[in-house]
Amino acid sequence: MSSPIFSPLPMHIPDGFLSVLVSIVFWVISVIVIGIALRKTSRELGERDVPLMGVLAAAIFAGQMLNFSVTGGTSGHLLGAAIAVILLGPWPAVLVMTSVVSVQALLFQDGGILVLGANLFNMAIVGVFVAYAVYTLLIQLFKEQSWGVFVAGFAAAWSSIFIASLSCALQLALSGTSPANLAIPAMGAIHALIGIGEGLITAGALAFLFAARKDLLKLGEPRPAGNKGVFLGGSLIALMLVVLSPLASSHPDGLEWVAQENGFILSAKAALYNLIPDYALHGISDPALATIAAGVLGVVIVFGVAYGIARAEKRTAKQENSQR
């Protein structure tokens, strides 16, 4: 058993790795899509689906602890976006994966808070949409074959991981944290491997469910019209990222320019320098001196607080003793 606190997926971006502008843009996109998912879900599903989605979200979170050894200490894991799509349909799956990723960030610090919007976009939106598009497409293709479900499940799981990692790499490149020509091939390659484990476990889980409760897989059910948007969206995201990523990694200049621009806009330093006259800043204009001063101040404050708290504790202990 691996430690469940560390997610098996190196895709949860911590705070500090994305620029504020990129973080905010992806928060806005994610909030809009999750809002649509909430509206659709509360309209279409009955009251029994709240406990269903809650318990399944817990199962996906806990299911990420399941692993099998591959070779040389590496292991395959389940991440669950594809299986959630297949069991619940796309919109409830968005909500379930949103719950999983949010709890990982809030409760276990797996992924940052300001960058949660970007993480939700990668794992709860891109992952789910792409899995849905691939799954429905392949199910239509292999309608007659009984193994069609497993192939579709494997492909949906693999591509959801792979495409989501490309999206993650692009966000890092847009923020100027990793150069595109390194981040995209590296992230893509790692997750193309991780995706195989995910795909195999997903296919295995489908085989189990196929044998035990065939009705859960909703085989042969016509595609509901309301999900056409998800199908189109998922296909479009997958196509765009697959085309855009090699382009971005072979011509990183465009991305670098964007990264520099948005770093510049948000620091807005030049404008402030013009506002405040030079002489006011003599004290903190020497970086080394300022750092030392801040260090001394920091140490004094932390020790002061520690001392104060220790004294207060002693006093209350004394009072309690004298009361006895």
């Binding site: 399944l56 817990a58 944290t177 409760r213």
Partner: protein, 263 residues
């Protein structure tokens, strides 16, 4: 798997959860807005969070150790050291081995690492001093949609039950697949092992679906009508407002300091 929350009666634990949520968000936002190489500002941000950790009686060691969790991701920023903005400096590391790095890129790398490390500490402080139900109530009071809060609430309630279930399943697998000491064989081929794990996952989902039916029946029998009981929506007290305003002004001042001292 254990929860991070530590029971305690410190000032930070007793604070309104909304104040803590907003302050945490503001902290991470201002810290992210602080430019690269603003070391004096980083030190003061760190001072602020370490003081809060002391006030919360969690202990510095607990927060600092736990904060190393986000470290592995730093690999993503390592290339900055070597291909950061010019000028590039070439160092003779060893006879014949040269290393080219960009000082500006190194500064950025270190800034990202430190910012990320400090941000994780704030998130730890929030999670360790706030009960999760209180956190959810705060989120609902801050206008996070009810349906989402309900799903996350139910998820949290059953998370540890299902984690126990997964642990039992894994233990059952281990007890049935003995390995010969010294041999690296674990059962059959890789795809066989993946199939077994897949079967476990499928069985976990089936059990969870059945569990959710039982949970629903139990909720119905206790008067569930599709709505979870509403949380109180009392506004923040004046003291809390002032405290929050003071905190945010402090953060803004640190950010301004960062703007002038950063590079």
């Amino acid at each position: 798997m254990r929860e991070l929350f530590r029971q305690n009666r410190s000032i930070i634990h007793q604070m309104d959860a909304r104040v803590k949520v907003i302050f945490t968000l503001a902290f991470v936002l201002f810290l992210s807005l602080t430019p690269f190489n603003a070391w004096p500002a980083y030190i003061l941000f760190l001072t602020l969070i370490l003081s809060a950790a002391l006030f919360s009686r969690l202990g510095l060691g607990f927060v600092l150790k736990r904060a190393l969790l986000a470290l592995p991701f730093i690999l993503a920023a390592v290339p900055l050291i070597f291909i950061g903005p010019p000028p590039h400096i070439t160092l003779d590391v060893f006879r014949g081995v040269q290393l080219t790095y960009s000082p500006e890129g190194l500064g950025r790398f270190a800034s990202i690492a430190v910012k990320s490390w400090i941000s994780v500490q704030v998130a730890i402080l929030l999670a360790a001093t706030t009960r999760f139900p209180d956190l959810l109530t705060a989120l609902q009071q801050l206008r996070v949609p009810k349906l989402f809060v309900a799903i996350v609430g139910l998820m949290w309630r059953y998370l540890f039950v299902i984690v126990d279930e997964v642990t039992r399943m894994a233990r059952a697998r281990t007890s049935r697949s003995a390995t010969v000491p010294g041999s690296h064989h674990h059962g059959g081929s890789v795809s066989w092992r993946a199939g077994v794990t897949g079967g476990m996952a499928g069985s976990l989902f089936l059990r969870s679906l059945e569990r959710s039916d039982r949970v629903y029946a139990a909720m119905l029998s206790r008067g569930y009508t599709g709505e979870l009981p509403a949380s109180d929506t009392r506004p923040l007290s004046n003291g809390d407002r002032q405290l929050l305003a003071l905190g945010v002004v402090l953060l803004a001042m640190l950010w301004l300091l960062g703007l002038f001292s950063g590079g």
